[in-house]
Subunit: 320 residues, 2 copies
C-alpha cells in the first residue's frame, strides 16, 4: 500500500484499501497519479471513486476507473487516454481537422483509436463510404464497448471494418493510393505506439494515401515535447510533398493541458489545412451519431493552427 | 509531517523532511500538490527541489520553490500563480489582448499583478505614458523582485506608479474616464481577490475607463468554472455598453491547463477585440524590456477568441 520515494519521482503505490491495482499508480491514497518519464517532475492526479476494470493485455495494462469529477477514465500503462468529461476535444479535433480539410472524404483509415471515439466522429461525415480501423489491442475495444458506450458507439456504424493487429503491418498490405484520409490516434511513443512516431511509418502512410490525401497524427505537447515535435515535422516535411502543418487543442486531462496534431497532405490537389472546406456541424450526420458536436466548429479549426511565438520559432519555417 | 486524508480530498501535509512549510501542501513527499475546492477531485503536482521562501503576509501565504522541471514557482495560498517556464503565456496574453485592441494606449491601470509580469508586458508599448498598479500585498512585490527578476523587471520602468492597497478603494478614488485600459491580474475568487469578480468592481472599472476604453480580467477556466464565467459575462454585459468578449489561452500549470479572459469596452469608439489594431512584436519595445515576445502574436490574438462549441452554447449569445 505504501511506496517509498525513489529516484527522480515518487514510487507508484497501489490504489484502493483492499489490494493493489496493477497499472494504476497512486501517490495520494485513493487517487490516481499520472507519472511518466515523458513529463518528469510533474503529475496530474484524480480522485478515484471506484476501479471498474483492470486487466493486462498482450500489450499493456488497461484500467478503467470512475473518477470523482471527470466521469469514467481509461488508463493505458498508467497514462490517461480519455475521460468522459473532456474526450470531445481530442476526438473531434483529431478527426474533423483532417476530414474537413478535404472535400467528400470517402475512404478513411484509423490507426489506433480502439476506444471508438475517432470513428464515432468519422461517422458524422455522410460522404464517407468505408472506415477501416487497425487497433493493436482487442482489450481496449472490448473495454470501451463495455464502459464507454457513448464513445464506442462508433463501432455500430456498418461502414466500419475493424482489424485487430499491428498498424505498420496493416499499412504494408494496403494498395497504394487507397485512402482519402488516415488518422493516427496513438498513445505516447513509449510502449506499443513507439513505431507510430518513426519515419518508416510515415512513409507507409504517404503511400496509402491518394494524391492530395491527408493524415492527422497525435503529436504530443508544445510545452513538453518540442524536440520530439521538431523531429516529427522534419520527417514529415521530407515525406509529404503537399502541406505540412501543426495544430493544437486544449485537453485538460492530457499532460500540460493540451495536445498537438501533425497534419500533412500528399502531392496532388492542394490542401489548405487552416481553411476548412467541409462543414460537419449538424448536417450530414450519420443517424447513429447521437448528439451535436461539443467542441469542434469551423472557427476553432482555423484557430488551432495559430501557434505561440516560441513554437513558430522552433518549427514555423518548416511548415508549408 | 504526515496528514490524514479527510473529507473529499487528501489533507495537506508539509513539504520537506526537516520541518513544515505552511502554505505549501504536499500529498507526495517532496512534491507540491495544488488542491483547491475550485477544482475538486484533481490536483497538479510538481517536484520541489528546494523551498526558497515562505512567508505569511496580512493577506495570504506566500511560497517560492525551485521546481524540478518548471523553474521557480510562486504559490499564493497553495495555488500556483506563475512558473518561470510558462508565465509568458499568461502575462503576454492578459496584457496584449487588451492593449493591441486599441490604438495608442496612454494610461493603463493594473489591478493585482504584484509579480510585475503584466507591467513588464505593458512596458513594451511605446505609446504608454503612465502605468498605475494597485496591488494589495507588498510581500508579493518584494518576493518577485528577489526571486523572479525577469518577471519583476517591469517595476524598473519609470512610467510605473506602484500603489500598495485595495483595488476597490483605489478605483473609487479614480476620476471618471481616466484610463485607456485596465488589466485585472487577480488570483481566484477565494481569498483576497473575491471582490474582483463581483458586479460593483466591474462598475467601478467602467467608470475609470475613457469612452471606448478596454478592460481585461482573469476569468477562470472554460472546463472548470462555466457557471462562474456565465455570471461574469452577464454582469459585464449589463455594465459595459461596448464590446463584451471572451478569450482563452493554454497555461500548463493552471488548473485544466488553460485560463480565460473577459474583455469588455465602454460605450464610445468601437472595439473589435478579435482583430488587433496595434502590433507589439519587436517594434516600439521599451529599452528596459529584455528579449522578444515568447508567446503572443497577432494570429494567436485572434485565435484566442475562437471558442469551443460547448462554450458558444453557454455564453455565445451574450457576447457582442
Amino acid at each position: 500500500m505504501a511506496g517509498a520515494a525513489e529516484g527522480n519521482g515518487p514510487a507508484a503505490v497501489d490504489v484502493g484499501m483492499d489490494g493493489g491495482v496493477p497499472g494504476l499508480s497512486a501517490v495520494i491514497p485513493g487517487w490516481f497519479s499520472e507519472i511518466s518519464p515523458m513529463w518528469p517532475g510533474e503529475a496530474h492526479s484524480m480522485k478515484v471513486e471506484k476501479v471498474l476494470f483492470q486487466g493486462k493485455s498482450d500489450y499493456q495494462n488497461v484500467v478503467v476507473f470512475q473518477s470523482a469529477t471527470y466521469g469514467k477514465v481509461l488508463v493505458l500503462d498508467g497514462v490517461i487516454q480519455l475521460t468522459e468529461r473532456d474526450e470531445c476535444a481530442y476526438q473531434e479535433m483529431i478527426t474533423h481537422l483532417p476530414l474537413c480539410s478535404i472535400q467528400n472524404p470517402k475512404k478513411v483509415l484509423v490507426i489506433g483509436g480502439g476506444d471508438g471515439g475517432v470513428i464515432r466522429e468519422v461517422s458524422r461525415h455522410a460522404s464517407v463510404e468505408q472506415i477501416d480501423m487497425c487497433e493493436i489491442d482487442a482489450m481496449v475495444v472490448d473495454v470501451s464497448k463495455k464502459y464507454f458506450p457513448d464513445v464506442a458507439v462508433g463501432f455500430q456504424d456498418p461502414r466500419v471494418n475493424l482489424h485487430i493487429g499491428d498498424g505498420v503491418a496493416f499499412l504494408k498490405a494496403v494498395p497504394h493510393g487507397t485512402y482519402d484520409a488516415v488518422i493516427v490516434d496513438s498513445s505516447d511513443p513509449i510502449g506499443p505506439a513507439k513505431e507510430l512516431f518513426e519515419k518508416p511509418f510515415f512513409e507507409l502512410i504517404a503511400k496509402a494515401l491518394r494524391p492530395g490525401g491527408v493524415v492527422c497524427t497525435q503529436a504530443e505537447s508544445l510545452w513538453l515535447h518540442m524536440h520530439l515535435i521538431q523531429d516529427i515535422v522534419s520527417n514529415c516535411r521530407e515525406i509529404f510533398k503537399g502541406s505540412v502543418n501543426y495544430a493544437w487543442t486544449t485537453v485538460p486531462t492530457y499532460p500540460s493541458g493540451m495536445i498537438g496534431f501533425m497534419l500533412c497532405s500528399t502531392e496532388g490537389p492542394a490542401v489548405d489545412f487552416k481553411n476548412p472546406v467541409t462543414r460537419v456541424e449538424g448536417e450530414g450526420s450519420h443517424p447513429q451519431v447521437k448528439g451535436p458536436l461539443r467542441f469542434y466548429n469551423a472557427e476553432i479549426h482555423s484557430a488551432a493552427f495559430c501557434l505561440p511565438s516560441f513554437v513558430n520559432k522552433a518549427i514555423g519555417s518548416k511548415l508549408r
